[in-house]
């Protein structure tokens, strides 16, 4: 189908874009359009005005710092995926990105657009929650930083006010020597996840986990940090019984009800399988980092 009528504005500055949003409650920001345009073609989304931010120079690019990677609002998925400086400080990014749709979609879709869409089964929101990152929201009254866990509020719902633009996302780099892994279960490669799990962990010199970060997508109305499992695994050698305990403690995090293709039970089992696989893979990588 074709989209219904809308107005179109292509501001050259962030301030101009914000003033358009502030003056029109039904105006919507257009970045890559890979979710918004299909929704408009279905007429599920009917914005009064599209505010195309692709010409705002301040919203382009990636800045890799010693602790934080800043991803500006117009950065396409594929740029983030292929950036050599990002891969050096956070190799998890490229691993997650392999699962985001397909290359032609990643060429156009943006990282921040995906965060703002806040689909709970999407990979980018989970990555930001897993890493403990944040976003910067800019509105008529200034800029504010919103932590990932506060930003994702519910299904397709974020803490962004409607006259705010998320100008950048801030992804922490991985701790030195940390292991990492991500995988997901989908019906077809590139689809949204039935369940997906990401992990970042550090081992001490006796092979015990000194720090574990674990998060999942697809299982609830937001991406979820699996904090109980993190606490159970911290201080252990990540053996089979430790993983069993972590999996048992994570089942309650699955709140998605039965769906036509996926029962609640199946999703819980998928989550458990992924936790075992992902924590083991991250631990192997952490060991390799130590011996390298």
């Amino acid at each position: 189908m074709k989209p219904s009528l809308f107005g179109y504005q292509a501001p050259a500055s962030i301030e101009e874009a914000i003033s358009i949003l502030a003056g029109d409650p039904d105006a919507v920001v257009l970045a890559g359009g890979q979710t918004l345009l299909p929704a408009m073609n279905f007429r599920a989304a009917n914005p009064s005005t599209l505010v195309d931010i692709q010409h705002v120079a301040d919203l382009r690019g990636i800045e890799v710092g010693t602790e934080i990677i800043i991803v500006k609002a117009m950065t396409r998925h594929r740029e983030f995926e292929l950036d050599a400086a990002v891969a050096r400080v956070n190799p998890l990014v490229a691993e997650v990105m392999q699962h985001v749709a397909h290359v032609p979609i990643r060429n156009r879709g943006t990282v921040v657009g995906s965060l703002c869409h806040a689909d709970p089964s999407a990979e980018m929101p989970m990555l930001l929650v897993l890493l403990g990152g944040s976003v910067i929201a800019q509105g008529p009254s200034g800029r504010r930083e919103i932590a990932a866990e506060d930003f994702f509020q519910s299904f397709l719902t974020t803490a962004r006010e409607r006259d705010e633009i998320i100008t950048e996302a801030r992804f922490p780099v991985l701790p030195k020597g940390a292991g990492w892994a991500f995988d997901e279960v989908t019906r077809r490669h590139g689809d949204y996840a039935i369940a997906g799990v990401g992990c970042v962990l550090s081992l001490d010199d006796r092979g015990r986990a000194s720090r574990v970060q674990l998060a999942a997508c697809g299982i609830a109305d937001t991406p979820v940090r699996l904090k109980e499992a993190e606490n159970i695994l911290t201080g252990t050698t990540l053996g089979a019984s430790d993983l069993d305990a972590a999996v048992a403690a994570s089942g309650a995090a699955v709140t998605q009800p039965d769906e036509i293709h996926v029962s609640h039970t199946y999703r819980r089992r998928a989550l458990g399988t992924l936790i075992r696989r992902i924590v083991t893979m991250a631990a192997q990588r952490a060991t390799q980092m130590e011996t390298a």
């Binding site: 074709k2 989209p3 107005g7 359009g33 890979q34 345009l37 599209l50 397909h102 060429n107």
Partner: protein
Amino acid sequence: MARTMKAAIPDRSADAEVDVSMTVNGEAVSRSVSVRMLLSDFLRHELRLTGTHVGCEHGVCGCCTVLLNGRAGRSCLTLAVQANGYDIRTIESVASADGTLHPVQQAFKECHGLQCGYCTPGMVMNIVARFEEPGKLDLTDEGIRDLLSGNLCRCTGYLNIIAAVRRAAELLGRA
């Protein structure tokens, strides 16, 4: 509900129009179009470049894939006005002017990589874009399937398309 049929039919579309200019297959084009015109419709209806096919209009099938500034993208998920100033390449630019097929097209022909042909322009544009990127190509079954994962074909069962990608790599000296 009683509604008068006498109301005048508007002689103009209510759509706001916008001027767009871009390069399509090496030629500069300018048109005034509705802001809601999709790039796929711009190519097909305004420029009569009907080689770009339209399947699902929500980004799933990949039939409408064209190159936007050298990168494969969905023309149905891009407004014409978003492509203002872009360099666009469509399937019409792929074969030589004398009709000689591009190696990717030649490989599809040799390997029987198409039946009805509806998905083929999108397939070819996606594959051409990947072949134009530097670096080693992943020509394992898994690598080729990943490359093709954003393009649906309902005829072939994909095996001949996978063979065509390998054959194209041979023809282009990339195997």
